[in-house]
């Protein structure tokens, strides 16, 4: 089991870089990874370090297993008709979120109001597809391809425990930084379960990447145009429409659907 210790190095590195920068600016050390009320460059460097450390883990892990990097990931993303599962995954999450948003708009829980400048939302929409695909691919390679794959290949860890641990690691990783809302954790746990089962049932990363990318695309694409009016426990909030009770139930249905359709 090498993936988890390797993954733990990322927040450690992020914290060290943050501390060095805080010292550079003469600011007090923070025990959490928290860039709020800090110079902009600290946030930018923090983001770069996060992405770089995650990419480093993705690239280093196959080498630690003495496998060629490209070969390892080519097995996880086979270039065949199976790749269509990525398209299906994206279609499923887009359909799920559009239905959810449609209901929130009809019930006035979501108000349509443009709250970003035209330039900003145009740029966001133009970069939507590459951003969603890249974000989903990196996260899936890391959490399913590296972490879950490693746990599943560890002989003394049962499959159920491997799935449970992968779900926890995926959800927990979204709260390593100081975040505005912690109650959305249940949404991330449920989303983690969907993505882990999608990987477990298909044996490749196309379906989880598609599900993840479709979700990111709809959430980020609609963000400049929607304002949540709540109640948050039903509708979720901000970029977490799946964190409310209705979203959790919807994710549950989607998970059952994925297992029943792709179950091996």
């Amino acid at each position: 089991m090498t993936a988890l210790p390797l993954l733990l190095l990322a927040p450690l590195l992020m914290w060290i870089v943050q501390t060095v920068q805080l010292r550079h600016y003469g600011l007090p050390i923070r025990w959490r990874i928290d860039t709020s009320q800090a110079p902009r460059s600290l946030r930018t460097v923090g983001r770069v370090v996060t992405q770089a450390s995650l990419l480093a883990i993705i690239l280093c892990y196959p080498a630690l297993r003495r496998e060629p990097t490209l070969g390892y990931y080519a097995d996880l993303l086979p270039w065949s008709r199976t790749a269509l599962q990525g398209v299906q995954g994206a279609a499923m999450s887009i359909l799920f979120l559009c239905t959810l948003y449609g209901v929130w708009i009809a019930t006035d829980c979501l108000r349509v109001s443009i709250h970003q400048s035209r330039r900003r939302w145009m740029r966001r929409l133009l970069l939507l597809v590459p951003t969603a695909c890249f974000g989903a691919l990196v996260e899936e390679l890391l959490f399913r391809g590296v972490v879950m794959g490693d746990l599943l290949s560890t002989p003394w860890i049962p499959r159920t425990l491997a799935v449970g641990l992968s779900v926890l690691v995926f959800a927990g990783a979204h709260y390593v930084r100081n975040v505005k809302r912690r109650w959305t954790m249940f949404g991330h746990l449920m989303l983690g379960l969907l993505l882990c089962l999608a990987y477990l049932e298909t044996g490749n990363l196309w379906l989880p990447v598609g599900l993840h990318a479709g979700g990111i695309a709809v959430i980020m694409g609609t963000r400049p145009f929607f304002r949540y009016r709540g109640p948050a426990w039903i509708t979720g909030a901000s970029i977490f429409p799946f964190a409310g009770v209705a979203g959790l139930a919807g994710l549950g249905v989607l998970t059952a659907f994925v297992v029943s359709i792709y179950g091996r």
Binding site: R81, M92, I94, L95, C98, I105, V112, V218
Partner: protein
């Protein structure tokens, strides 16, 4: 007595309407007000019949409408059951049994401004909702079509 040309002449039926509040105590106060102002024969409308009241006022069946308070009047406005601009245009006199603002010109002006603003806001809000719902429906339909086409192919 001169009657405005657009107002129908009296035909025996009272030309005053009263919108009944839901509370019994408020209703008693309203009845007292009607009696004191010689309007005991006013046609009473329950809150469930407020749309009939609006239709009859718009049809110029009444030239005087009594509400218990401003809240009752505004509730009718929020529920799209009062076209105060049309009422004002047809010269209908609105009275409140318990006006929170004593000067009737003030609250009537306020009600007109609120009605106009609310109408514009609702129109804008409705247009945005329709556009958002139409776009979401199109995207959802495209997603369904994609699923239907690709599920058998992927196996």
């Amino acid at each position: 007595m001169t009657i405005a040309p657009e107002i129908k002449p009296t035909t025996g039926k009272s030309r005053c309407a009263a919108c009944l509040p839901s509370s019994e105590a408020d209703r008693r106060d309203l009845e007292r007000y009607l009696k004191e102002n010689h309007l005991a024969d006013a046609v009473r409308f329950l809150s469930k019949d407020r749309d009939d009241l609006d239709a009859q006022v718009t049809a110029r069946d009444f030239d005087r409408v009594v509400f218990f308070d401003l809240q009752n009047l505004l509730t009718m406005m929020w529920d799209h059951e009062l076209k105060i601009d049309e009422w004002s245009a047809s010269g209908v006199r609105i009275e409140l049994v318990r006006p929170e603002i004593n000067n009737s010109t003030d609250w009537l002006t306020l009600a007109n401004i609120v009605h106009g603003s609310l109408g514009r806001w609702r129109k804008r809000h409705r247009r945005r909702r329709i556009i958002a719902a139409a776009l979401l429906s199109l995207i959802a339909l495209a997603a369904i079509a994609t699923l239907l086409w690709t599920v058998p192919a992927a196996g």
